[in-house]
């Protein structure tokens, strides 16, 4: 048994806010302290805060596009490498670290769970293989369905009851074949439209070949997700990412899905107003105001970090635009019947007005959305910046003077298009614990995570209290994964595989026969080779659909 003593505990789900508590750990779980326990190891956490392990709700860390970005960007690797030490492997990469390094780097920040945010079912095996080699993290993948041929085909059927049932079976089959955790939609209909050489789509644009409108696709998917009682709602990357004036579409999408559990991802990229000249301005107020009245919705930010980034998304038309705009190198992929994908490396600069406004919008959302339980800190890693920048963002949230000093270094016109300078709010440690741990745990339906009460998994991060919050959160004194000390003073001590979180919803386990014929006709592989075999997951854990 291991005991953590003298630490100021932050456990928002149990209403513990900085009080000194003892935490006793046995067999990877937090247990009730009692006098007759045999304690083999005691961690003295005096002068430290004790929080649940961090939970990454949206990040691109494993699979085909991530690996393509690694080979596409050798420049990301030359200056960033880790030499192997006893039991710890070497690795390279800054914005797109290699698999083992990704696990170590998350762990060194006190994160113990992470979800890969966009996996086409066809590439799921690759994503799971990489996650097997991404240690010290419990992980899962979100399965892409927003531009899937079979989904759109089913949606085009007339018989409403039959259609709903068939969609439920298809979603179940896609989730279980890919061993996914949640339903992900990226630019609904927009990628398929682009593949037919057509323009970008609005909610009511009819998308070939079946004439399905994105609004209908979203409405039917959220209904199915609710019926299947998936632990995480629809994980949605809305239409028109990065375009001036897109907040209108974002708000319209939110209104369409009112009352359903939906997670709006990297909302910063979807909160742009339009200036008279067609540039972007902050529409964070409009978006935040709406969310403040709709507690059923959650979001994450996708906060811009100045410096290098690697954009990678299933939103291939958006990536094509970015490539044309920046002239930077570009990979495009057409993932058969399922989606597209694109990669473009980027550099966010404080002197570039567009980037400076983006940076402000992310922070504005974080400061204007009142309920921290609705919001999760992310950089949409590595799209808006690497996850290793989280400590810096935490400082920006907790330290207004620091925030304003950075704001002063941005393009001088930034203040004309943003509200950040007017915002005085500073996050408390409790609020930081919520937006990095407890809120994502709740949004993901992970009842044993994001908290430190009895029965919780013993994923714990212990940070030394410091005035400089960036330093404080960049180098935890201790990190425990499943009750084992894996990081001490910022150094990784041991490496082992985490669990893979999956769902088993109540629906069909085989593909509908008529769709199986489509599959045989159009896919490049056999149906029997499609589903990810159980052998690919060494430590699966089924999160119940209740």
């Amino acid at each position: 048994m291991l005991k953590i003593v003298n630490g100021q505990v932050y456990d928002p789900l149990n209403g513990v806010n900085g009080e000194v508590r003892e935490i006793v750990i046995d067999h990877g779980m937090i247990v009730e302290p009692s006098p007759d326990q045999k304690i083999s190891e005691t961690i003295n956490a005096s002068g430290c805060v004790v929080m649940p392990g961090g939970i990454e709700i949206h990040s691109h860390i494993a699979g085909a596009k991530v690996n393509s970005a690694r080979s596409m960007c050798p420049e990301d690797h030359y200056d960033h490498f880790k030499v192997s030490t006893a039991g710890i492997r070497s690795g390279t990469g800054y914005t797109v670290p290699s698999t083992f390094l990704t696990g170590y780097e998350y762990s060194r920040l006190g994160y113990t769970t992470a979800f890969e945010a966009a996996v086409p079912p066809l590439e799921a095996r690759h994503a799971h293989e990489e996650l097997e080699d991404t240690p010290l993290l419990d992980s899962g993948i979100y399965t892409l369905m927003g531009n899937n041929y079979m989904i759109m085909k089913v949606l085009s059927e007339q018989d409403e009851i039959g259609r709903r049932e068939r969609l439920r079976d298809l979603v179940t089959w896609l989730l279980t074949s890919s061993k996914g955790y949640a339903v992900k939609v990226v630019n609904p209909g927009g990628v398929e439209s682009w593949k037919w050489s057509q323009g970008s789509v609005d909610l009511d644009t009819r998308v070939p070949p079946f004439g399905i409108a994105p609004r209908k696709l979203l409405q039917e998917l959220v209904e199915v997700i609710r019926e299947l009682k998936l632990p995480h709602g629809l994980h949605l990357h809305a239409n028109h990412l990065g375009e001036a004036g897109n907040f209108i579409t974002t708000l319209e999408t939110m209104r369409t899905l009112e009352g359903y559990p939906v997670h709006f991802t990297h909302l910063q990229f979807h909160s742009y107003g339009m200036t008279k000249k067609g540039g972007i301005r902050s529409a964070a107020r409009e978006i935040a105001e709406y969310l403040n009245g709709h507690p059923e919705f959650t979001c994450d930010i996708g906060q811009i970090v100045f410096g290098p980034a690697t954009t990678m998304t299933a939103d291939s038309p958006m990536q094509f635009r970015l490539h044309q705009m920046t002239g930077n190198k570009w990979i495009n992929s057409d993932v058969e019947m399922e989606t597209g994908s694109g990669i473009v490396p980027m550099m966010y600069r404080p002197s570039v007005l567009f980037n400076a406004i983006q940076w402000c919008i992310g922070l504005e959302l974080l400061l204007l959305i009142k309920n921290p339980w609705q919001i999760v800190l992310t950089t949409d890693h590595p799209n808006a910046g690497p996850f290793t920048s989280y400590p810096q963002i935490i400082r920006l949230l907790m330290d207004r003077d620091y925030r304003n000093s950075v704001l002063e270094q941005l393009h001088p016109k930034t203040v004309n298009y943003t509200h950040l300078r007017e915002l005085d709010r500073e996050y408390s440690l409790e609020e930081i614990a919520i937006v990095t741990r407890s809120a994502p745990a709740r949004a993901l339906g992970l009842s044993h995570k994001g908290r430190l009460g009895i029965g919780a998994e013993a994923d714990v991060a212990i940070y030394r209290i410091q005035d400089d919050k960036e330093k404080m959160f960049a180098g935890p004194a201790y990190v425990l994964k499943g009750g084992k000390v894996v990081v001490r003073d910022g150094e990784v001590l041991q490496s082992f595989a985490g669990k893979r979180l999956i769902v088993e919803p109540d629906g069909a386990k085989t593909l509908l026969p008529d769709l199986a014929r489509n599959f045989a006709d159009y896919y490049s592989i056999e149906l029997s080779n499609y589903a990810v075999q159980d052998e690919y997951l060494s430590r699966p854990e089924v999160i119940p659909c209740i």
């Binding site: 596409m72 960007c73 050798p74 420049e75 990301d76 030359y78």
Partner: protein
Amino acid sequence: MKTEITLRLKEQPSIPVEAESINPENLKGKSLKEIYHLPLWSGNRRQKLEDYFEVEITESGGEAEEAKVLQSEDNLAKVVLAGDLSRFKRLGQGMAAGEMEIRGSVGFHAGASMRGGVLRIKGNAADWLGAHMEGGQIMVEGSAGHFVGAAYRGKTQGMSGGTILIRGSAGQMTGSRMRRGLIAVGGDCGDVPGFKMLAGTILISGACGIRAGANMRRGTIVLLQPTRLLPSFYYNCCYRPVFWGILVQELRQKGFELPHADQDFSFQRFSGDANEGGKGEILICQSN
């Protein structure tokens, strides 16, 4: 008085050796013992300089000698390496001052990221000679491999200053993505010299491979032999550029003679690459 440190290769290693620790500044003020203990990586093994070299430190006097020695102001010893060093990589990498002479051939990355000083190679150089070079001078008596003065994979800018003079031939992608500086090739050059070049000058005396200057933004490629250009280069005029005479003189001063070059040569000027704005130029000698 001038100190000379001579490193004689004992025998050629069977696998490549990472030799970036051998340069004039790093040897400065070190005793013979300290020099023998300098680290050299070979594969995944850390070895010592004494495993490969015999070292001799000599003081050479005479004012006549001294006058010939370049850049002795910071009192750096001249470093001489003797033997076939084609399995030694990164010799002179990052050097910023002093003089290093290699009596033999060298491996990859010689003089890469070099910032100053002089690196003389009496034999041949392998790929990535002077990659990302910022200043100083490299002289190669023999030939050089591919990617002379180029940018490493994924980097957007290669050589940004300094001079690379190659008496023999050079391989492919010479001066790829270079930003500033001069590369002169006495012999032939492989395909796509000056690929995506941003500025600077490349002179090729012998035959040139295909697609010279593909994707070049700015900069100058001078070709003394006729060649076929990409269709995205267009003819401007025939003229006698003033800079040509200055360049020939400067090269001569540096001991780089162009066998048949005349200061009064006239050139056909082509603009390109039109796909990238057409601000670069290729000059093809008319008088040869």
